[in-house]
């Protein structure tokens, strides 16, 4: 790795520079991740984000893989395999304790593996562990696995996050309260924002150097750039925006590392039917692809071209990129030979990551040059899993296969690309029987050649793992084949320092009580003022609206394609694991019954349990309102404070230059899309001037000022168009009232123009202004969806977007109902306000 040596040199240079200053090194580390884990249990579900956070940090398995892919001891110090390959004996490490105090021994190890294999297990690797017939705890320090057939891959599976050791005491709550034997223990999870880990002092090994680690979840590439640039995060090991790397490299306080990963990015081809079943057509596609252009265009040059489904850093790699070179004439000739002289039309389904979307656009243009007309369809992951992976309803797709040594998927005719070859199957049989390394490498070479020659898929490039790090950070990251961000040895340069107290967010019973008193008091006052009949009528209308809305949303949710269980379990799940999970989620049963249960639950304040987070939805909503409500209020205050006086000024100067300027500006204000404005604000005030953080939310327990500061830029972005609208409304309302007779009367009785405006004009102009405010508030509450993404705020909008993407439909229902309720309640309050402002309305129902 030339790059890494360059950067270690750079690192050393930086260390020399800062050495005199570094009296006390930083001991807390913030790591940026693109994806938030749905839950923290690595033994259930396929989310790689879970492994990123917990594997190697909280949880450990019996063995681990070293950077070269060799199996190394971890909780097992050594092991023996019987000559027939049917018995594995593991000798376990002594003195290991779980973070809950439980001692680790063979019985616990047996429990962990039995749990993964159980009938009700939702473990993704259940099938991969299928060779295990029996698990025996020979003595407290010895575990034996008896197999029913030899399995050369077993030790690799034992090094995955899915097969970590868990404590019987805490195994039931791993999703929300993970307990393992690793060097860090779980400290807290602010959903939508971050997971915090603290050093585990009872660790069996050397122990972590960092006192605290925080994983922050930032999915938006632009937000990731802002976060690393403003040092909201110290490290971004899977940085999503290669287009920024040149710029980040130029920053001496950062180091950028581009390394190989186990991921192969392929143009997945449905081999089953139609023209794509014809190998000539598939070869034509290979010849049409220009890998260099794809890597340059989609990845800004990062990534190594591949000619088969195999990573170049592996010793058994064979370079097959020359097998089907970029050759348009050849591709056209092959198409003609295959019977498609006029080309053909294909669909290309692209999952969300930028590498896939961008590669897909370039591939479509390249295929167009040989006469293949490609229709691009962007899909979410849930749709991709459903349409491409499960139902094989696709022609082409672009996806990265991140699992190490995953060539066995070409031996599964039911796999999504549907390759079926007796020759390949025979090779796989030879590989399983082979024990000699040299022999294995030779067979692996033939395997690569076979799938390249059959042009099963378009082999594009090896996915580069692009990381951006604080230059002082060391021993952070190993190019390990196992998916993890292992921080056991990570530290900052400089002497060791003290720990940092961790903050926890806490709800309170007191605000709830205050709220209840306010509601009861408010209702009593309304009854006294407007009468019980009016109040009951309004309540009935509200109830009907809410009921209708709940029916609408429930119906929509029923037809949303994509199975939440399949989404959680990912690519390698067995159908029975998915069925188990569906049962757990309460997704079975007639729709009417589930609707009634949901409705009755909501009346009691029970919104159900989130599928992915596995915590009550009501709690999630409460957490997120704590961000979205203050943001909406702040934006509203800003829009009133700015918009109303400007509008009044324009009204007072009607027809003069000031009026024209103000009205022109407000027209522009109304026309600016708020998400665009938000990006400009970040660039100017966070990255440019450094006045505000680029995003994130420290929580209210961090103090009023930091919390308000974090909401300032998002509030400005939200408020700007609203302020423009409000200014216009205020102006026209004031102009209308100024023309009324009573204003002339007021002037006639001797009031000055501004006295008349304030005493008589403003109260009457309030009605349209109130109407607009009433319309704006719910819009601001929900309208922050995109804004919350730009600033990675853990609000309702981001919750619902993420929930739609992950098919956490119960959360979607809950958020939508909450927002509908906000609209209904606001309308009610506006109605009350009308009546207070204008007593004439008291007699009839206002609309």
């Amino acid at each position: 790795m030339k790059l890494s040596s360059f950067f270690s040199g750079l690192l050393a240079a930086c260390a020399l520079l800062v050495a005199p200053l570094a009296v006390q090194a930083q001991t807390s580390l913030t790591v940026g991740l693109q994806l938030e884990p749905p839950n923290l249990d690595p033994t259930s579900g396929a989310a790689v984000a879970t492994d990123d956070v917990v594997y190697g940090n909280i949880f450990e398995g019996l063995v681990q893989l070293d950077p070269q892919g060799a199996v190394k001891p971890l909780l097992a110090t050594w092991w023996e395999v019987s000559p027939d390959g049917l018995s594995y004996t593991f000798h376990l490490r002594q003195g290991v304790r779980f973070q809950d105090g439980t001692a680790f021994d063979a019985a616990v190890a047996k429990f962990s593996l039995d749990r993964a294999l159980a009938a009700t297990s939702t473990n993704v690797q259940k099938q991969a562990l299928g060779a295990i017939a029996r698990i025996e705890a020979v003595d407290p320090r010895t575990l034996r696995l008896i197999l029913n057939r030899p399995d050369g891959n077993l030790l690799n599976v034992m090094a995955l996050g899915d097969t970590v050791m868990v404590s019987p005491k805490s195994a039931g709550k791993l999703a929300t309260d993970p307990i393992g034997t690793g060097p860090f223990r779980f400290a807290g999870w602010r959903r939508g924002d971050s997971v915090t880990l603290d050093r585990f002092d009872g660790y069996w090994g050397k122990g972590a150097k960092l006192a605290q680690v925080r994983f922050r979840f930032i999915g938006d590439p632009a937000a990731a750039f802002a976060a690393i640039k403003t040092r909201e995060v110290d490290a971004f090991p899977d940085y999503p925006a290669p287009e920024n790397l040149a710029q980040l490299r130029a920053d001496p306080k950062l180091k950028v590392i581009a390394a190989a990963s186990e991921g192969e990015v392929i143009l997945g081809v449905n081999n089953r039917t139609g023209p794509l079943a014809n190998v000539r057509v598939r070869r034509a596609i290979q010849h049409a692809l220009d890998r260099r252009a794809i890597i340059d265009g989609a990845m800004y040059g990062y990534g190594t071209p591949i000619g088969s489904h195999f990573p170049p850093q592996n010793a058994a790699y064979v370079d097959l990129t020359g097998l089907h070179p970029h050759d348009i004439a050849k591709a056209k000739a092959l198409l003609t030979e295959a019977g498609y002289p006029n080309g053909l039309a294909l669909t290309l389904k692209l999952p969300p990551p930028n590498y896939a979307r961008r590669s897909g656009e370039i591939i479509a243009a390249q295929l167009a040059q040989v006469g293949i007309r490609v229709k691009i369809e962007n899909v979410e992951w849930a749709q991709w899993l459903d349409q491409v992976f499960a139902r094989h309803a696709f022609d082409l797709t672009v996806v990265s296969h991140a699992e190490p040594m995953d060539y066995d998927i070409y031996d599964r005719p039911d796999y999504y690309f549907g390759y079926s070859s007796p020759a390949f199957h025979a090779l796989m049989g030879q590989l399983q029987a082979a024990t000699d390394e040299g022999q294995r490498a030779a067979i692996l070479g033939q395997i690569q050649r076979r799938i390249a020659d059959d042009a099963v898929n378009g082999f594009l490039f090896q996915f580069p793992r692009l990381g951006v790090f604080d230059a002082r950070l060391k021993d952070f990251w190993v190019n390990s084949p196992t998916r993890s961000i292992d921080l056991a040895n990570a530290s900052f340069d400089g002497a060791g320092g003290g720990g940092i107290a961790s903050g926890r967010s806490g709800g309170g019973a007191i605000p709830g009580l205050v709220l209840a008193i306010a509601v009861v008091g408010g209702l009593a006052w309304l009854t006294a003022r407007f009468g019980a009949v009016w109040l009951a009528g309004r309540a009935a209308i509200m109830a009907v609206t809410l009921l209708a809305a709940s029916a609408v949303i429930f119906t929509i949710i029923q037809v949303v394609p994509g199975d939440p269980a399949a989404f959680m379990l990912g690519l390698n799940a067995s159908p029975e694991a998915a069925a188990n999970l569906r049962q757990q989620m309460g997704l079975e049963g007639p729709a009417a019954q589930r609707y009634a249960a949901w409705l009755l639950g909501m009346v009691r304040g029970d919104f159900g349990v989130s599928y992915t987070y596995q915590t009550p939805v009501a709690g999630l909503l409460a957490e997120r309102i704590g961000v979205s409500l203050p943001l909406a209020l702040l934006a509203m205050i800003l829009s009133v404070v700015v918009g109303a006086p400007i509008g009044a000024l324009a009204a007072a100067r009607r027809g003069k230059a000031a009026d024209t300027v103000v009205m022109g500006l407000t027209q522009v204000g109304v026309a600016i899309p708020n998400f665009w404005f938000a990006v400009l604000l970040v660039m100017a005030f966070s990255i440019g001037l450094g006045w505000f953080s680029a995003g994130g939310f420290p929580g209210w327990d961090a103090g009023l000022w930091p919390a308000l500061k974090a909401l300032t830029l998002p509030a400005i972005a939200l408020a700007a168009p609203q302020a423009a609208i409000l200014a216009r409304v205020t102006r026209s309302a004031l102009i209308d009232t100024l023309a009324e007779d009573y204003m002339r009367t007021a002037r006639a009785k001797g009031l000055t123009a501004s006295q008349a405006l304030w005493r008589h004009g403003l109260p009457n102009a309030l009605i349209p202004i109130l109407t607009i405010l009433g319309l704006q508030f719910p819009f601001l509450l929900a309208g922050g969806v995109i804004i919350e993404n730009v600033f990675f705020l853990p609000g309702l909008g981001r919750l619902v977007l993420q929930a739609i993407g992950q098919r956490d439909l119960i959360v979607v229902q809950g958020v939508v109902m909450l927002l509908v309720f906000a609209v209904v309640a606001t309308n009610f309050l506006v109605d009350v306000a009308y009546r207070l402002v204008d007593p004439r309305l008291s007699g009839r129902a206002a609309r």
Binding site: A293, G297, V552, Q667, V729, V823
Partner: protein
């Protein structure tokens, strides 16, 4: 009314330019946007490429033209959809009154109560992304706007003498609605259609920005902004041009709407 004229002229000119460019893109763009010239990507404006090249080396000016076409089509059809369903509903509610009126208005309340963007995202999750589904997602929220406006204005027309005369002559409610009420509403509806059109342009940009609008290779201003977002520090013009296209178009349409309102119905205020 002295202000009305310039508003109408400027707004009309911008809107006409927008429509003209959108129509032009059907027959001509400076370059084909299927030409990827990755070696020259993110090049600044030049005489050959007036607005430069994008991150794939495509001609930005051509993309802006195609984006105008997309914005025009999506917003226009969404308005037609909203008016096509909303106006008859509003006429019906005004003509019949009673429980039909109540049903239509409460239905409008329910639609209004939904968070528009979230529902649009859900709808595209059901229907799949694409320009047509963006039209539906935006059009659905235009329906109650037109229904309410039509009903409110129609109610006042029903009390007019000429409508009373028509009733006395024995004409049915449906005929009166079509022959006497609807013509009286046209100016109000045209003004509202212009404003919904401009809201549609912003909404389409928002949906495309989150990847749910027109799919590539079709161009969309929102998609261009999304592509440009991570490049703001490297190539700020990438975000400026599509952003300006949106702002100018929406501005033009709003000015046109305001101008038309002042011209067609001076009594209406600006607070819609």
């Amino acid at each position: 009314m002295s202000r009305a004229a310039p508003t109408l002229v400027i707004g009309g000119a911008i809107s006409a330019l927008f429509v003209a460019l959108a129509l032009l893109s059907f027959i001509w763009t400076p370059y084909a946007v299927t030409d990827f010239d990755i070696a020259h990507r993110l090049q600044g404006p030049s005489t050959a490429h007036w607005l430069g090249l994008d991150h794939f080396g495509r001609d930005v000016a051509s993309l802006i033209l195609l984006g105008a076409r997309n914005a025009l089509l999506v917003s226009l059809v969404a308005v037609l959809l909203g008016a096509g369903l909303g106006v008859p509903l509003g006429l019906l509610a005004a003509a019949r009154g009673g429980w039909i009126d109540e049903l239509v208005m409460r239905g409008a309340d329910v639609v209004f109560a939904f968070p528009a963007l979230i529902l649009a995202i859900l709808l595209t999750a059901v229907l799949g992304p694409g320009a047509l589904n963006a039209v539906i997602a935006i059009g659905v929220f235009n329906v109650p706007v037109f229904a309410r406006l039509t009903r409110g204005s129609a109610l006042s027309l029903w009390t007019r003498d000429y409508v009373l005369a028509a009733r006395a002559a024995g004409k049915g409610a449906a005929r009166i609605s079509l022959e006497h009420v609807l013509p009286g509403l046209l100016s109000v509806l045209i003004v509202q259609a212009t404003l919904q059109f401009s809201l549609g342009v912003i909404a389409e940009a928002g949906l495309s920005y989150v990847g749910l609008g027109a799919q590539p290779p079709a161009a969309s201003w929102g998609k261009m902004l999304a592509d440009a977002q991570t490049l703001v520090a490297v190539a700020p013009l990438q975000a400026i041009f599509p952003g300006l296209a949106i702002v100018i178009t929406v501005l033009g349409l709003n000015l046109l709407g305001d101008g038309l309102r002042d011209r067609l119905d001076p009594r209406l205020t600006e607070d819609r």
